[in-house]
Symmetry: C2
Subunit: 495 residues, 2 copies
């Protein structure tokens, strides 16, 4: 019996995995089906009877909670306070800002009845909360002492898209945070927009280990009602860009529509400047796509709900000794702030456990068996490289910590290398089309006009501008479409 | 100029308060208006254009976040995992459990349209998530190894009540957590129900400092679809009971309705037992009512977002010295884990600040002026007793810590004393009516039947059974209505 279990450890886990719980397609072979299988088999999400809505199962919700902590602590340091506004927006309020209503109305879910009664006015389920929040802001803000007003909200929003849904990436209800600030001047608002994009970049690059490009959205792609939108864009393995977070300067558009004004330091009534910015559970989709492999999910250590899993290799005669050693290692790792679990389930074989934790993308697996105890060592398995190393027991925490840091860095470097090697310079529309076809981002000069954008979209198989570079160090040049002056911009297909 | 500011400190803050921002009614004089004024003037909540829905402003949301932390850490220790299920419930799913649908349908908000399209099936906005969750559970649970399933969700729910709304206490949308568990046996479910009520009791009594009575709900008052409901009930100063948290054993009703079954250890197909339990933002209403006074909110130290506020008494010539001392005290308090703010706004007088922080219920105000620095002391003002004490500067943290602990204890003892002195023994319906009229809870024997409950309600000005005692040590006796055997129960009006 002991022999049987031992063979699981030394046997071929992949074979066992394929039979029981592993993926049946490769990432390169069928990317879309691979994604669906990772989402369901790694126990991240489940489909529901509400079309386009998913269950965020505990494992993906724990990832979201990590992202929440990372963002929330940074928001706090910037003086931003959390609040909660109603889910419902009366139709009249929702329709007050012209561009905003045009952008969002086609996707709004409407409440028309309560109990047996028909409501006097339809209520929109928030697709975003500008309109309900700014009605309150107009009552709260009186003078310059009330500014800046810095509010954030964690909630779910509903956008009833009719395109094919995809868990995390495109669902009709999703979770997010939406920040909303009010400032005395355009410059203050500009600074806030840029500060929030920096927070997002730090979390995405340093914690999610996903490299991004950033810039300004074109007129056509900007947030409905905004003066301008800044964005972080990641590149997925299928060559499509994925928006990771956006930060908008709303100008004075909403303030005028909602009657927000303040008495300035000069004693005169003024119209304030506003920003809004958000990051959503979409980034979990990016995390899966960017790092996963043919064995399942691969989670960057800084975001993984479980950073290390200890799998004791248990035989009947040495069970107690091995479990005690596993508990010791667990304590050692926990003392160093590593989140760790011991998988001591006796209803599964070690081989089965190896496969399951690989599927779930836990960064490091620690194996301890009786022979390891004899040698006073543990075996470390690193999820991304799938390489094994041994470490001496007293140095377990240092070894795990070092390996976690190496893995975090390696994932980011790989992502950085992927996006950088996937940017093709384009001097013509044809070159943009060729880049899109080759799963690359095109970089070319662009004037940002709606007409030029439409022309590119029509001729490049749906590729659109992703963002226009911001930096003053970037060169200017002639728009690849109209030849007028433009800035360097990225083009590609997008999720 | 310096003299003017100094007089604010030594003047009469109450007078200043009444003119600028204080309450215009007393708690005893007009309890309902007092409540409304505390909610709005302490900046806890605001009304919105959506009838019956409020904004949870940053200050009340911070209280809710404290409650979330307290509950969440306890849930985690019990192995309960957070997840997120859709906001929407298809009508057919919502109507699957007969008693449940009867209980909730009159208050459901219905989504009928998305964009320009009429939906094929109406969607309920969740009033509670049993029906949408248990449809998923029926797919997740296969065998005894999958049990217990222990899930919690933080979200908002919507119950479109037509009674007069009251911020926190009765709003059409509110925030809560809802826990849902599935077990092999009734005994396991019973234990879970009781464990969750204990968690709620600990948070309510030890942190919110509100004394409660607990027990089982009668047939009429139990959760729609449950086998039985256990509850914690607090007594508000107006003599009305307020439900602080409930924990239900759902029996096998929902499992049967949603087709949840599992292969037991004996190899046979079995129907599991389920529980659900919740605590909502209603408890913030209880917090306000229970502890507030004629000067505003009074927050128990363990739940206060700001435990101590330092108000430097600033004169032009000693400003730097005083602000430096305030910063030193701040560091000292923070090192002891006390959440502290320094109110160094130079646009308000010290007297104005005193009133504002009293209105907001901050447990301790620390005053530091130039004369205090000379004496190497600080002045501590305790919010509930409104008494001042001095402490030597090097002992500031110990003094504040001690005062916080005393205040926490005093608030709880006062609450305990209030509920215990407000229980009147009742041997007849008339005595229940008299107790209710005298703002008391009546305690009498009760059989728990719907008929007897209706009779009491009709004859006691709306008082109903609040809970039936659980303990085996409680005596049994004859029901005050029908004379059949009953257990001791509490009766009273309720929010």
């Amino acid at each position: 019996m002991a022999g049987k279990k031992a063979s699981d450890r030394n046997g071929n886990p992949e074979q066992a995995g394929k039979k029981t719980l592993g993926l049946t397609v490769t990432k390169a072979g069928d990317f879309s089906e691979w994604y669906t299988q990772v989402v369901t088999k790694a126990d991240l999400a489940d489909y529901t009877p509400v079309s386009g809505c998913i269950v965020f199962k505990p494992y993906s919700y724990a990832i979201w909670e990590r992202i929440q902590q990372l963002l929330d602590s940074r928001f706090r340091k910037l003086g931003i306070k959390n609040a909660y506004f109603p889910l419902f927006i009366p139709e009249s309020l929702f329709k007050r800002e012209a561009q905003h209503v045009e952008g969002f109305t086609p996707e709004v879910a409407w409440v028309t009845h309560a109990g047996e009664e028909k409501l006097g006015e339809r209520l929109a389920i928030r697709p975003t909360s500008e309109t309900i929040m700014y009605d309150s802001f107009s009552k709260w803000i009186r003078g310059w002492r009330d500014l800046p007003l810095l509010i954030n909200q964690w909630c779910s929003v509903v956008r009833w898209e009719f395109k094919y849904p995809k868990p995390f990436i495109r669902t009709r209800e999703f979770l997010w945070q939406e920040g909303h600030t009010v400032h005395e001047s355009k410059e203050d608002a500009d600074r806030q927009v840029s500060a929030m994009l920096s927070v997002y970049r730090e979390v995405v690059e340093e914690h999610l280990a996903i490299a991004v490009i950033s810039g300004k959205k074109s007129e056509k792609e900007k947030f409905a009602g905004a003066l301008y939108t800044t964005t972080l864009e990641a590149l997925m393995p299928d060559g499509k860009a994925l928006q990771m977070g956006t930060s908008h300067n709303l100008g004075q558009n909403f303030a005028r529509a909602f009657g927000i004004s303040f008495l300035g330091k000069n004693g005169e009534k003024q119209i304030p400047w506003q920003t809004s910015w958000g990051m959503s559970t979409r980034v979990i989709g990016a995390l899966i796509m960017a790092h996963g492999d043919d064995y399942g999910l691969v989670l960057p250590p800084k975001i993984a709900p479980i950073q290390a899993v200890i799998v004791p290799i248990v035989f009947d005669d040495t069970k107690e000794k091995v479990l005690a050693a596993a508990a010791g290692i667990r304590r050692q790792l926990e003392q160093e702030g590593i989140t760790v679990e011991v998988d001591d389930r006796d209803t599964y074989t070690a081989g089965w456990k190896f496969n399951e934790w690989e599927l779930k993308g836990v960064p490091i697996r620690v194996e301890i068996g009786p022979r390891d105890i004899e040698k006073q060592q543990i075996v470390l398995f690193r999820r991304d490289t799938r390489q094994k190393e041994t470490a001496k027991m007293p140095a377990a925490a240092a070894a795990v910590k070092g390996m976690l840091a190496e893995m975090q860095d390696a994932l980011y470097q790989k992502s950085r290398q992927h996006i950088e090697s996937s940017i093709a310079d384009a001097g013509t529309i044809q070159e943009i089309a060729a880049a899109a076809k080759g799963r690359k981002l095109a970089k070319g000069f662009f004037c940002g006009s709606v007409q030029c954008e439409e022309e590119i979209k029509g001729k490049c198989d749906g590729a659109t501008s992703r963002c226009m570079t911001l930096g003053s160090s970037e060169k200017k040049g002639k728009c690849v479409v109209c030849g007028k002056e433009g800035v360097a911009a990225y083009f590609g297909k997008a999720y």
